[in-house]
């Protein structure tokens, strides 16, 4: 039997009383309480494995290497728009991915609606014969007019499967809106928008106080300073133009949250090995790295998060309400009924180990670079 390897450790579990005595001691890099608290930044997500720049946390990037999710090298001459990329990709996939039907997971959220709008814009009725849309009541509530005007008349619908014995991607090209959050700054920065509208465009190096306060509000001042300095080191080593509060939050999701999302998707029964990831292509990532300026991804209005995506939908359906008011919601949680497990770690075969029942195995596999 091949030796299994830990791909990712759930940060909040590092301070578990049965684990902590076996970890290396140290104040800065090995401050396990702070490392555990990184989990509090964005709703129990792991934000420790950076895809870009220096590795500032005490974890190797095995998951990134073995899952092949490194970002493309930054190209400052990249000029394609979000709409260009979306249309070109849809047209290309319609030509290439013809061996199985497509199954679009439409949650009614902004991201999966971009995909459906793109298909309607770029496909023929004959091509759509081979495209199914999975949705449920929650999807319709999210965007009812889009459903009745565009989804229902144009696609064969199936109810969203909660789980299935056979992975759906053996039967379909399963396509969903995952990884779009990582192109934008997701929801964290928008808290600041209400508190201090101009802060998203502030220079986080020159004027970090508000950012530190927001990080501290989730944990404490010591953590905020520690985390800020680590992320700053990573950002400075990346050589990307990351300057504002908006950019800082975008970076957390683009660089650090990406791996967590990838592993989470592998755990879902519905789509494992073969499914193409619409928003994970190099072109979308290149776009994300080149378009952090205000007016493209966001403005200082709460309703303008994911601006380029919303503009794409608006150009298709001209629904002003969606364009002005649609905000990021937790449609994914309603849609998939994901179990947010509290595992200790994910292994390289994507199985999980739990402290309560797998302690011996966990200690056996704990990497040397964090073990005392």
């Amino acid at each position: 039997m091949n030796q299994q390897k830990i791909l990712q450790i759930h940060s909040s579990k590092l301070t578990h009383e049965k684990i902590l005595p076996f970890l290396k001691n140290g104040w800065s890099q090995y401050n396990w309480q702070n490392i555990s608290d990184t989990n509090k930044i964005a709703e129990s997500t792991n934000m420790l494995m950076g895809r870009f720049g220096d590795n500032v946390f005490p974890f190797r990037t095995d998951a990134i290497d073995s899952c092949n999710i490194k970002p493309p090298a930054y190209d400052s001459s990249f000029t394609k728009t979000f709409a260009d990329i979306t249309d070109e990709q849809c047209q290309q996939w319609l030509k290439e991915k013809t061996d199985r039907p497509w199954l679009i997971f439409w949650s009614g959220g902004i991201d999966s609606t971009v995909i459906v709008a793109s298909i309607l814009k770029n496909s023929t009725a004959a091509e759509r014969e081979n495209i199914y849309v999975a949705c449920n009541r929650a999807s319709i509530y999210e965007l009812p007019r889009f459903f009745y005007n565009h989804v229902q008349p144009n696609f064969k619908l199936i109810p969203t499967p909660d789980s299935c014995k056979q992975p759906l991607d053996e039967l379909y090209h399963v396509i969903d809106g995952e990884f779009a959050d990582q192109l934008y700054s997701s929801g964290i920065g928008w808290e600041l928008l209400r508190l201090c509208p101009d802060s998203l465009t502030s220079d986080f190096r020159r004027d970090p106080d508000l950012l530190l306060n927001q990080l501290a509000s989730r944990t404490n001042k010591n953590f905020a300073t520690w985390y800020y300095e680590h992320i700053l080191d990573n950002i400075n080593s990346s050589n990307l133009p990351i300057e504002t509060y908006h950019d800082f939050y975008w970076w957390l999701f683009f660089n650090y949250h990406y791996t967590d999302v990838y592993l989470r998707l592998r755990e879902k029964a519905v789509a494992n090995k073969y499914s193409p990831r619409w928003f994970a292509t190099n072109e979308y990532q290149q776009w994300a790295m080149n378009n952090n300026q205000i007016g493209t991804k966001y403005t200082l209005n709460l309703g303008d998060s994911k601006l380029a995506s919303k503009q794409y939908i608006y150009d298709f359906d001209h629904d002003e309400y969606c364009r002005v008011f649609k905000i990021k919601s937790k449609s994914r949680l309603l849609f998939y009924k994901l179990k947010l497990d509290k595992e200790f770690c994910t292994l390289d075969d994507f199985s999980k180990l739990y402290v309560d029942c797998d302690l011996e195995r966990i200690l056996e596999l704990l990497p040397d670079y964090i073990k005392s």
Binding site: P144, Y321, V324, S329
Partner: protein, 212 residues
Amino acid sequence: MQDFKYFTHGYSSNSRNSIYGLYQPVLNCFLIVFPDYASIGPKLAAILSSRYVLQPIRLDTADNYSHNIIDNEICELWTISNLNDISPNDLITKANILLADRLIPTTPIELIQIEKEKQWAQFCLFWLRFIRLESQFNAAGLWIDNQIGNLDIFNVFEPILFPNYREFVTKTMSLLYLGQDLEKTEQAILDLVNNTDDFLPDRFNKFLKEYK
């Protein structure tokens, strides 16, 4: 605004009644205020959710509340001090009533014609109240007040007693939920009123006359 056919000020003549408002986070203002939240509020927020999410807020808990400073004439000029208690991303799944600490004057962000949105909200409120009144009158129509929504336990009576009326309610709710143009939606509902049951047109005219 007061000339609008379905306008009400949104406060109760009984000063002990609580007053609620529906707050829109993107516009950072209230779109409507009204006293009868328990019977109407969740339905109104649900109907309007096809346009935007709304946070229900109890206004009379604000230390500076008076119906002289906020009513449906000027509700778009007010926000609250405790905005941090609102999580716009959660409003599609849960919208617990928030208690206002203090009312704060604001200048609404004119991303859309707010006056039209206020009118639409008042229009929906009117029809929800009308449906509720009729449901109460038709004792078997208690089902409309059932927040659970999908329970079929009353359906055994409905088709026998009020089959047309039930269809009227369902169609009216759909028109309000998906409607965009007020005049067209109003006409479609009035057509239903006139073509459903004999008793409905008279009831509607009486209700409208006494509404303000």
